[in-house]
């Protein structure tokens, strides 16, 4: 896998999250029943940052949730080695809530499909909205995002990789390409 293009640096990433935060706030005004849930792994950190921005602007103390969709994936039967089951922790009752689901990259839509199934097992939210940092196209399911940081055209052999300083020591978004032998 080699780097092809820097899509966002740290500043651009922060600007995109700030814009998404404002768009979320334009649409959601009842914070008594509002929550943000990040998808494992890097969506979790984006959700935390968006929540922090919301708390600053609206003077709130919201805590974001964490969702792992491994157990809801549709490719379990194909995989010989099982993916690691990561932490799920939603520290609020989602019944009746307006939820914003946050992920880094929207691609086939299968992960979001799994997330919707998982959330429904926790309760019945009033609405579920989707925020993604990047929409790279190639959807395989009828799923779309409500808030998008950046929309780009990609080839199937390419990948979009987010780095966040919480676990990767830097904030950046890269377009990557498979090399021969990958």
């Amino acid at each position: 896998m080699k780097k092809v293009e820097l899509l966002m640096d740290s500043h651009a990433l922060d600007l995109a999250l700030t814009r998404i935060t404002h768009q979320i706030l334009e649409r959601n005004r009842d914070f008594s029943r509002f929550g943000v849930v990040g998808m494992q792994t890097r969506g979790v950190y984006l959700a935390q940052r968006i929540t922090r921005k919301i708390n600053e602007i609206e003077n709130l103390n919201l805590v974001s949730g964490t969702l792992d969709v491994t157990l809801y994936r549709d490719d379990y039967r194909m995989a010989l080695k099982q993916p690691e089951v990561k932490v799920t922790d939603i520290p609020f009752n989602i019944n009746g809530m307006d939820l914003v689901l946050v992920d880094d990259v929207l691609y086939t839509g299968r992960t979001v499909r799994a997330a919707l199934d998982a959330l429904v097992d926790f309760g019945r939210p009033q609405t579920i909205q989707l925020a993604v940092l990047v929409d790279r196209g190639h959807r395989e399911l009828p799923i779309m995002a409500d808030y998008i940081g950046k929309k780009i055209n990609t080839l199937p052999r390419q990948e979009v990789a987010l780095k966040v300083k919480e676990i990767d020591q830097e904030d950046s978004l890269w377009l990557m390409e498979l090399e021969e032998g990958d």
């Binding site: 995989a79 690691e84 922790d89």
Partner: protein
């Protein structure tokens, strides 16, 4: 990622990495069990046969619940109501069940080695739910999960396992698994109920209870099979209780936060006094809860793949 083992036949020889992966995955399933809806769709379409040639309530129910909570389809087989009574061999039974397109087999049998034998005559994934005097790996895994949950680690902790060691597959699985995880295990029981070739277990074995309890972080009592008394293994239940049973008096000499465990079913007032079994140090019911999570983890980690 993924386990190195294809079947769970026992914990002897299973790596620290594999045991850690099972325990970590079990912690995630523990969270699933706290949800309002305790079912995930992961093993939808998988058929799992619970092949029980020996009586069992807890283990069979625990496996069946684990299977249902993973959305698998369990099929229960008990020897007493089957063609085994008509003289069908184990090999024929399993080949016939396999012909009905099943994916995994959870087996309990009074003969050691039956789970291994099954891997030789079917393609299904085999999980050992107790074989003879050999192993009961999921019990040892749930014991380790419970200890890790309560004390935050395994490495360096001392565990005293007390009772009928000779007949205990729980003791054997724990001796192997816990040693692999860097724990100090000591086995203790009356000399007549200790195994002959004890050095093969790789852990100290003693008939001196005080020695075994010295410095223990965890004390695990084993069920005394009362019918063994008739074979002369111990003179009377009262003597066994006095010398090897754990009561409040013996508990008071142990550290305040010692964990008291028992694989069940308990003989109250024999190996374990009621006020200890129900006391603040007891994690016996947590063991049962964790059993479902550990079995979900094992089935999840072994159950994937087109040809599983």
């Amino acid at each position: 990622m993924g386990l190195h083992i294809q079947h769970l036949l026992g914990l002897e020889g299973v790596s620290e990495e594999d045991i850690t992966l099972i325990l970590d995955t079990a912690d995630s399933f523990y969270e699933v069990l706290q949800r309002e809806i305790k079912v995930v769709p992961t093993l939808r379409g998988k058929t799992i046969v619970n092949l029980f040639y020996e009586n069992s309530t807890r283990t069979r129910i625990s496996f069946e619940l684990a299977e249902k909570r993973l959305s698998a389809s369990p099929l229960n087989f008990s020897a007493s109501t089957s063609s085994v009574n008509k003289g069908e061999t184990l090999r024929d039974t399993i080949r016939n069940i396999e012909a009905m397109k099943i994916d995994m087999v959870v087996v309990r049998h009074s003969a050691a080695g039956v789970p291994y034998f099954l891997t030789q005559c079917t393609n299904a994934v085999i999980v050992n739910a107790g074989d003879g005097l050999h192993e009961h790996p999921t019990q040892a895994l749930l014991d380790m999960m419970t200890i890790r949950q309560k004390l935050g680690r395994l490495k360096g902790l001392k565990v005293a396992i007390i009772g009928d060691i000779f007949h205990s597959r729980v003791a054997r699985s724990n001796a192997w698994g816990m040693s692999t995880m860097g724990m100090d295990v000591v086995l203790c029981g009356p000399p007549t109920l200790l195994p002959q070739h004890r050095e093969s277990l790789g852990v100290p074995v003693t008939d001196n209870l005080d020695e075994a309890l010295e410095g223990a972080d965890v004390v695990m009592l084993l069920r005394l099979q009362l019918e063994r008394q008739s074979s002369g293994a111990f003179p009377s239940i009262r003597e066994y209780r006095d010398r090897y049973g754990l009561d409040l008096d013996k508990l008071s000499s142990l550290p305040e936060n010692v964990l008291i465990m028992h694989p069940g079913p308990i003989n109250r007032g024999v190996e374990l006094a009621s006020d200890v079994a129900d006391g603040p140090n007891s994690v016996i019911l947590e063991q049962v809860t964790n059993g479902v999570a550990v079995r979900m983890a094992v089935l999840y980690l072994l159950g994937g793949g087109e040809n599983a």
